[in-house]
């Protein structure tokens, strides 16, 4: 009975995610890195039809299909509670999928206990063993594997050098700073040379500067060692700077899988557009569809030419997504397909750029981002001007 209900629920929910994946694969055929769930038979990690529920009622992960290539830096990005940790825990073996199977290097690992999977893991709170010194922490996975002593020492030494902590080997975790503990956790997850390393918000507890430093360091280590990394974060900046590919999670469904630039430039639905970076969203109705463009009517505000990314049919509603930095100030008449008159409502000075809130198309929460170069001196509250943008920069998406 329960099984049946779940199946039905999942059928209903599967639709948007599933369709997105298909579209994505069509759009990025030429990219080097496999863009979506289809890495091919040599996929290193494969989630096939994974579902997960804790209480038998709510599906925390709904039909997850995902392939990760060998050596890839793959990031799961999403808001809190979207099922990222759950997905990671299923891969690590601490949670059992309710349905579906996970493959590691072509083998199903459904029944394999965590300690046999040979997956390194970095936890959000580091999970260093407080009663052991840094060296003993690093020795732990090697002792379990019964490595000979000289080999063990050499590896520990190398790992400590890699994270620049050679001098702190004899200390206990409590005697280290947050960043140092983080590096020990990283070294411990790598010292037994796993092929796959999972990181669950490893930088969540660090301050901004340290976080950026560590992002660079982790990326560096990934490139040097060539391990496959599955990384979880809810910080979009972190995801964009570090990843080869990013999967955006929401409510247990992957909204889009893409390379960072693509995710930013070409979000496929309203959630991704909202979640990655800032954007203006305008709702309207499609009045004409001539791929790749479409014409959208804003009730009482005019007609906008937009890129039809993910829309229904004529007469159906749509949401237009427009990045604040893609808006041009005072374009020459006729130089852009979309030109509207606007009035500056508010200006915020941010050093390298300014943000201006404008009243456009009958809405006064339209944000424009202007780089701090010549020609912004006259942008002051109350000033009237024209704004324009290209058809490709304005993406028509299915309203969620």
């Amino acid at each position: 009975m329960l099984q049946l209900n779940r199946k039905q629920a999942y059928k209903g929910l599967q639709h948007p995610g599933g369709e997105l994946v298909l579209r994505q694969s069509a759009a990025t055929k030429s990219s080097l890195m496999p863009p979506n769930g289809h890495v091919g038979d040599d996929a290193f990690v494969r989630f096939a039809g994974i579902q997960k529920t804790y209480d038998g009622e709510a599906l925390i992960v709904k039909d997850l299909n995902l392939d990760i290539a060998r050596g890839e830096f793959f990031t799961m990005l999403g808001p809190s509670g979207s099922g990222k940790t759950t997905t990671l825990m299923m891969l690590a073996g601490f949670e059992v999928p309710t349905e579906g199977s996970i493959f590691l290097a072509g083998r199903s690992i459904g029944t394999m206990p965590p300690h046999k999977r040979d997956i390194g893991m970095v936890f959000q709170n580091y999970a260093l063993f407080p009663h052991m010194t840094v060296e003993e922490n690093l020795a732990f996975p090697l002792k379990v594997r019964k490595l000979p002593k000289p080999e063990m020492e050499a590896r520990i030494k190398r790992a400590l050098e890699m994270v620049r902590l050679s001098a702190q080997g004899k200390r206990r975790p409590a005697q280290l700073s947050g960043g140092q503990q983080q590096r020990v956790a990283l070294a411990r997850a790598l010292v037994f040379e796993p092929k796959l390393v999972l990181m669950d918000e490893p930088l969540g507890a660090l301050d901004k500067q340290l976080r950026e430093e560590m992002q660079f360091e982790i990326k560096h280590i990934h490139e040097n060692l060539g391990v496959t990394v599955v990384y979880v974060t809810h910080d979009q900046g972190e995801a964009l700077t570090m990843s080869d590919r990013i999967a955006v999670f929401n409510d247990g469904v992957i909204q889009q899988i893409a390379k960072p630039a693509e995710l930013y430039e070409r979000p496929e639905n309203v959630f991704v557009a909202k979640f990655i970076g800032e954007n203006n969203q305008l709702s309207g109705k499609i009045i004409a569809l001539n791929e790749p463009a479409c014409t959208v009517e804003m009730p009482g505000a005019g007609i906008i030419q937009a890129l039809a990314v993910n829309v229904g049919m004529v007469e159906q509603p749509t949401v237009l997504s427009l990045r604040p930095e893609r808006v041009k100030l005072n374009p020459l008449p006729g130089s852009l397909p979309n030109i509207f008159s606007a009035k500056v409502m508010e200006v915020i000075y941010l050093g390298d750029h300014i943000r201006a809130r404008m009243s456009v198309c009958g809405r006064d929460d339209f944000v424009v981002k202007l780089s701090n170069s010549e020609g912004i001196a006259h942008v002051e509250p109350g000033v009237e001007m024209t704004l324009g943008w290209k058809m490709e920069d304005c993406r028509a998406l299915r309203p969620s």
Partner: protein
């Protein structure tokens, strides 16, 4: 010029600053002191004072030097080889007569009786008979009245009584005593019971501590792992002994353990036993009841430490390649040690002082040191022995704590 001005103004500012700081600090300290003062006074009056008074009576006893002043003075240079000379008997006669008149002879005889059991009645009757005698010589007369005065033992007691301080009680507590020549010798067999009792107290405490640990650890582990809704119910069950008085719990065990009690009844109706097993008044019953009462004391510190261990530690160990048991043993268990240490120490020290439970559930051979302390205070009114046993128990406990501290370290103990 400007420089000297600057440094001068600097020093004039610095001085009041330091005074100001001191004033603030003093006020802060005073306030802190005022906060703890009531408790400090309470502890001082109700704990430290009686305790030190008690400790003192383990070595301080001036009964004989006060009530038999002439005799003790006359015995000062008695060498203890022969019976004392007439002069000393004369002093004894005077002291006893006065004690008879002042009705203090009871105290004297009791004090002599501590060291020479059975001597009390002879001292009393000698005093009574002496009061009818008008004059000396007393030596022959006293030996005639009671053979007690014809032996050196009693004279040894009286001579040592000249000092207000005595090692008798402490020696007795570890099965030693003075002989007639005031040499320290081992007590004879029938008096040498206290080493056994101390050892028994230690053994029972260790057994109970081990039993509570073995029973409590898995339950604490379960409690720490369960979701709160379930663990709360289990916790109430575990804490029940806390809410019932020890006396009530012990009596409940008496009901269960007696020959026609519940346990024997069940075992016999199941034909496991043909006649009732001796459960009440046995070591087994004592340990059983004490374990039951002490279980929460061991369990709670372990539980609270387990609660604070992040589950991600064991997960990390598993992901690093450790099997479930190895991860538990190498990563989880070492982190519970501070809780184990705290719980076991608490139970062990509480067990050392157990009194009611062994008294009600134990047999004569299961009485612990506190039972003897109680008997000496309540029945025999021998405060010296009670104090000496108490002092030795306290010292032993402190020593064990220090050893424990050296081995485990106080900073490793965590109560909560």
């Amino acid at each position: 010029m400007a420089l000297t001005m600057g440094s001068m103004s600097g020093s004039t500012v610095q001085l009041p600053l330091r005074t100001k700081l001191q004033r603030v600090e003093r006020r802060r300290k005073l306030r802190a002191f005022a906060l703890v003062l009531p408790l400090l006074l309470f502890i001082l009056i109700t704990f430290v004072l009686p305790l030190s008074r008690m400790m003192r009576s383990a070595i301080h006893d001036d009964t004989l030097s006060l009530l038999m002043p002439r005799t003790t003075a006359a015995l000062r240079d008695w060498d203890g080889k022969e019976l004392p000379e007439e002069r000393v008997y004369d002093a004894l006669a005077k002291d006893l007569k006065r004690a008879w008149m002042e009705k203090t002879v009871g105290k004297v005889s009791l004090r002599v009786n501590y060291e020479l059991p059975g001597a009390a009645s002879q001292v009393k009757s000698s005093a009574r008979k002496l009061s009818g005698l008008s004059g000396g010589p007393y030596k022959a007369a006293l030996i005639g009245i009671s053979p007690l005065w014809g032996e050196r033992d009693v004279w040894g007691v009286l001579k040592r009584g000249g000092s207000s301080y005595t090692g008798f009680y402490l020696l007795r507590s570890i099965d030693f005593e003075y002989n007639a020549n005031s040499r320290i010798v081992a007590s004879p067999g029938e008096k040498a019971i206290f080493r056994d009792v101390f050892l028994r107290t230690l053994m029972i405490s260790i057994t109970v501590t081990a039993a509570t640990l073995l029973l409590g650890f898995p339950v604490a582990y379960l409690l720490a792992k369960l979701p709160p809704s379930t663990s709360n119910l289990l916790m109430i069950v575990v804490l029940l002994p806390f809410w019932v008085s020890v006396l009530l719990l012990t009596t409940a065990w008496v009901v269960l353990l007696q020959d026609n009690g519940v346990i024997n009844g069940i075992l016999m109706s199941l034909h496991i036993l043909s006649e009732p097993a001796k459960l009440l008044y046995s070591r087994f019953g004592t340990v059983l009841a004490m374990t039951h009462i002490q279980l929460p004391f061991t369990l709670l510190p372990i539980y609270s430490v387990m609660k604070s261990i992040s589950p991600s530690h064991v997960r990390a160990a598993r992901s690093l390649g450790a099997g479930p048991f190895y991860a538990f043993w190498k990563v989880y268990f070492p982190q519970t040690l501070p809780g184990i240490a705290a719980g076991c120490l608490l139970t062990f020290i509480l067990c050392l002082g157990y009194y009611i439970t062994p008294a009600l559930v134990g047999g004569p051979g299961d009485q612990m040191i506190s039972n003897f302390v109680a008997a000496y205070t309540n029945q025999q009114l021998n405060w010296g022995m009670a104090s000496a046993l108490g002092a030795i128990l306290l010292t032993a406990t402190l020593l064990l704590y220090i050893v424990f501290n050296k081995l485990v370290g106080a900073d490793r103990i965590k109560i909560g």
